[in-house]
Symmetry: C2
Subunit: 213 residues, 2 copies
DNA sequence: TCGTGTGAACGAATTCACAGCG
DNA sequence: CGCTGTGAATTCGTTCACACGA
């Protein structure tokens, strides 16, 4: 039922729908229309319907979508109907912030291992996990069966971290280091570059007259 | 010389070019081709040339682009040839991580005020700034002439934070709260949603056979 | 009637391909 | 020759508009 190919932006919109549906559910709405979802997420109703129709026919004509039903469908599509074991490389401030971030746990992301190079940090206990030496990364990741890795190391060590994660068997990496990583084809890579986000703002403020699409 | 309109992705690529150029400069390369820049940033040479040509003719045929020159041009285009005063709302872990983040300072982003609601945190000193009460936000932001704001509050207080920032006179907001913010037309808004980044990964891992474009 | 689902139309962004200049 | 700059071609994503079913 999923299509052969899909745009990343469509996938991200699914996440937005899931969140909006959770809110509607909390508000006691048993049914929502594509118009509802659209204004909630800042897109058009047609886009909502198109996105959803890629995966099936979840709505009822004249009525809309059943809130809980659609939410479950989307969560299943996104793979959120299970928990995900995650390894975190880099126990700096950003790593700590992500480790604590409640939104992750709530969506079923479980950080099962944390790594750093700093002897000062190795051995410290964060909640249920003990910070381990990156030298142990591959074997620990394999032992803990982590499927995804998050890289918050400095740029210089990010590639090394990624390679160890791949060796350990992760299938996806979320990279916060400002550096292009090379990973095998089979491993999915997503980058978050905080500097670029701010620079996209400065461009807009520097060129108020330019429309950014 | 800037076009009437430009895609956000093109702007973000400019940031990537700037970083790549800095690296080439450090490596002593006085000239780079669109092919060099492309493989460094994971795009095509044609795209690099198209992006740059939107803002001028910076290259020499048969030679390529002068590294330092092009870097300066791009930094000017992005507005990085000056410093930016930034207000940070939310002194939690993520706020702390961003406050410390060296990449920001290096690009000329200066966090000149930090706010929180927690009486425990208010009054604490972070480097050069003292954490202040969000009640003071508007006047402090105005006094400090902050042009941009970063929101790292919980979702529930994010809209309020954004409104106070706008009242204080900021022209751009970078929002990390998982919540759609409404701001006046003239204010530029960028969102970073960490959960969506991870969910975009879980989708990919759940549908290995689906090509994500 | 209301709102979905979807082929068709549109528009935007990327890639092609080559003329032109150093 | 090598590589840029750019119109033309193409691909991709979004929006339109309406048939259809509840």
């Amino acid at each position: 039922m999923p299509p052969r190919k899909i745009s990343d932006s469509a996938v991200r919109r699914l996440s937005l729908y899931a969140r909006a549906l959770a809110d509607y559910q909390d508000a006691g709405r048993s049914t929502v229309s594509s118009v509802d979802l659209a204004e909630r997420g800042g897109m058009t109703p047609a886009q909502v319907r198109k996105d959803l129709s890629l995966f099936g026919s979840f709505g009822k004509r004249g009525l809309g979508y059943a809130t809980g039903d659609l939410k479950r469908h989307i969560e299943e599509i996104l793979g959120l109907d299970r928990s995900w074991r995650v390894a975190l490389v880099g126990a700096g401030r950003l790593g700590a912030a992500l480790f604590q971030y409640d939104g992750f746990r709530r969506q079923g992301f479980e950080i099962v291992a944390v790594f750093d190079v700093d002897p000062e940090k190795i051995g410290r206990v964060w909640g249920e996990v003990t910070i381990e030496d990156v030298d142990e990364l591959e074997q620990v990741v394999r032992r803990e069966k982590a499927m995804m890795g998050i890289v918050t190391t400095p740029a210089a060590s990010a590639q090394e971290a990624a390679e160890a994660l791949v060796e350990g068997g992760v299938e996806g990496i979320l990279n916060f280091a400002p550096r292009k990583l090379s990973v095998p084809e089979r491993v999915t890579l997503r980058n978050v570059n905080l500097t670029i986000e701010l620079e996209s703002l400065t461009f807009a403020l520097t060129h108020h007259d330019v429309e950014i699409t």
